[in-house]
Amino acid sequence: MKKIFSVFMICLLSACAGQKTQPTAEVVERSIGADENAAAAASGLASDGATFHPLQDPNNILSQRSVYYDYDSYTVKNEYRELVLAHARYLRDNPNASVLLQGNTDERGSREYNLALGQRRADNVKNMMTLAGARDAQIESVSLGEEKPRVMSHDESSWAENRRADILYHGE
């Protein structure tokens, strides 16, 4: 019980905790965050490693927030399934958490078609998440089309970086 309490305190101190209620923090402790938090507590990191919320822990898949796509495709590739499903489980287990999904495309072709394509990318991630247990109200999917490229250069590697859906947690 002492340990659970200390984990709860860690969550309170972490970036997101200000908006979380006590039951949410307990859910975190029991599910996805359990391993990391237990490990942190076990290795004596409870004092200085307190900022490692599962969403920020670089060793946790939840810290990965981008799904990349092939050209003119909105299919979520197999290599990103685990990432999307991990976020879906986090949302399922944290009913107060919510995300904004932003679909993006590279600069080539029609701006309007790219706006629709980016929406399809975000919608497909949303569909995967809701099928895996996240609730519809927790997820908003929008498109930025080709309007907000992360990389401004005009070559294949830049285009690949810009064909992307980003997962943004509210309150982060």
Partner: protein, 431 residues
């Protein structure tokens, strides 16, 4: 530029360009092929024109040259200013079929009288003339009107030199919706945001422009009155609102909404009331363009697995049926119906290039008009003879136009900024 300098009439043209003081834009014209069908025309400087703040004949010459239908004949050494002073044999010897002469008078109150005459060199007759009184600020407009008169008299087609274009200019982190004369001059900012603007669309009477703004963190369709700047949100539903285009009667807009799921095409009244769904597919339906009779739309859809152009009749209830029009290649987007309803222009991808193409509705014959890498947003001129589009050079968006037959291309190059989403406006109501 080298191609341009090899053109026979180039040196007169260079001189005219030097006379013409660039205000906001510099013009770079590239012409290739098709010389045989061009009408040779001589344009003599108008009397007292050098005292005006703006040369008139240089604008007339630039307009006619840009159409690709005219070849400028050197007028050095000959300077008649009225029909009485014209020695037809001189012009016939130089190969001119037509001749423009005229004079200007600058009055103390700043008003300028322009008299111009168009002469048929072969028949040795005056074809038409114009006398007009304008303030200095209207000199460019008067020159465009003269070019329109010459164009109509010699080709039989309506001139579009007095029309305006709209486009989005990105400068730093600012996005400006601008309108300019059809030659790229006189650019004025209609509205400016720090978030993207896309898809401007002129109302049929040219008084309003619909566009998509991301200023509220998602795409919303607005309509703005050009003269007053008054603005209203026409489509602001849950999800994305985009791709506005006006019905030919100006009463409705077709827009693309995600409020019921995928991107689908809806009709909405110009005041934002009366939403009605048009398309019903499991894929993306976007980029509607009305047929001139307003009874059908062409649009981009990926319902067949790749983005292609489809046509459907407008009916009371939403329909999943549409006729596929494009079959060459795996990416055909951004259709714009011609004003005569016989063809459409669009962007076609092949060999990793995105080019302006046209397709005949009946024969389905397709023609690629450009050779550049990344073309976008083609739209027909009101006389269907030119197509305005955006292309990219060195990572920067440039305004370009190509003749309907692909024979003449031109760049309207601005000094700074990054231009995208051009659209050609309608003919002025009063001509």
């Amino acid at each position: 530029m080298l191609i341009f300098l090899r053109h026979p009439s180039c040196w007169l043209w260079v001189m005219l360009l030097l006379l013409c003081k660039p205000l906001h834009a510099a013009l770079d014209i590239e012409i290739f092929g098709g010389g045989a069908t061009q009408i040779p025309i001589a344009i003599t400087p108008f009397a007292a024109e050098e005292r005006l703040p703006q040369s008139i004949t240089s604008i007339v010459a630039a307009d006619l040259q840009r159409s690709g239908l005219f070849k400028l004949v050197d007028s050095t050494g000959l300077a008649p200013h009225s029909p009485a002073g014209v020695v037809y044999a001189d012009w016939a010897n130089r190969g001119a079929n037509a001749l423009v002469v005229g004079k200007t008078t600058l009055f103390p109150d700043g008003q300028i009288e322009i008299r111009f005459y168009l002469m048929d060199v072969a028949k040795r007759v005056q074809l038409t003339s114009l006398a007009t009184l304008v303030p200095a600020a209207q000199l460019r407009a008067a020159a465009h009107r003269i070019a329109d008169i010459v164009f109509e008299a010699l080709t039989g087609n309506v001139g579009v030199f007095s029309t305006r274009i709209a486009y989005v200019m990105k400068q730093g982190e600012k996005y400006a919706l601008q309108v300019a004369d059809a030659d790229g001059f006189n650019a004025q900012t209609v509205v400016e945001y720090s978030e993207p603007i896309i898809s401007p669309a002129w109302s049929p009477d040219g008084s309003e422009i619909a566009y998509v703004s991301f200023e509220n963190k998602k795409p919303i369709v607005y309509v703005q009155t050009v003269a007053t700047g008054a603005r209203r949100a026409v489509a602001n539903f849950k999800g994305s609102n985009s791709a506005p285009v006006w019905s030919p009667d100006g009463r409705k807009l077709a827009v693309v909404l995600t409020t019921q799921g995928n991107s689908q095409i809806f009709l909405i009244n110009a005041d934002g009331s009366g939403l009605q769904r048009l398309t019903r597919s499991a894929g993306i339906d976007t980029e509607p363009s009305f047929s001139p009779d307003g009874r059908s739309i062409i649009f981009t859809s990926d319902r067949g697995g790749s983005p292609q152009i489809y046509r459907m009749a407008i009916t009371e209830t939403a329909s999943g049926f549409a006729e596929r029009l494009t079959f060459e290649g795996s990416y055909n987007v951004s259709p714009d119906f011609s004003k005569d309803g016989k063809s459409f222009t669009f962007i076609h991808r092949h060999n990793n290039q995105f080019n302006v193409a046209v397709q005949d509705i009946e024969t389905r014959q397709m023609q690629i008009l450009t050779k550049s890498q990344l073309d976008e947003s083609p739209s027909f001129a009101p006389n269907d003879m030119m197509i305005l589009y955006a292309t990219e050079i060195g990572g920067r968006g440039i305004l370009s136009a190509v003749s309907r037959d692909g024979q003449t291309r031109q760049q309207l190059t601005t000094q700074t900024g990054n231009i995208r989403e051009p659209v050609w406006g309608p003919l002025p109501r009063l001509k």
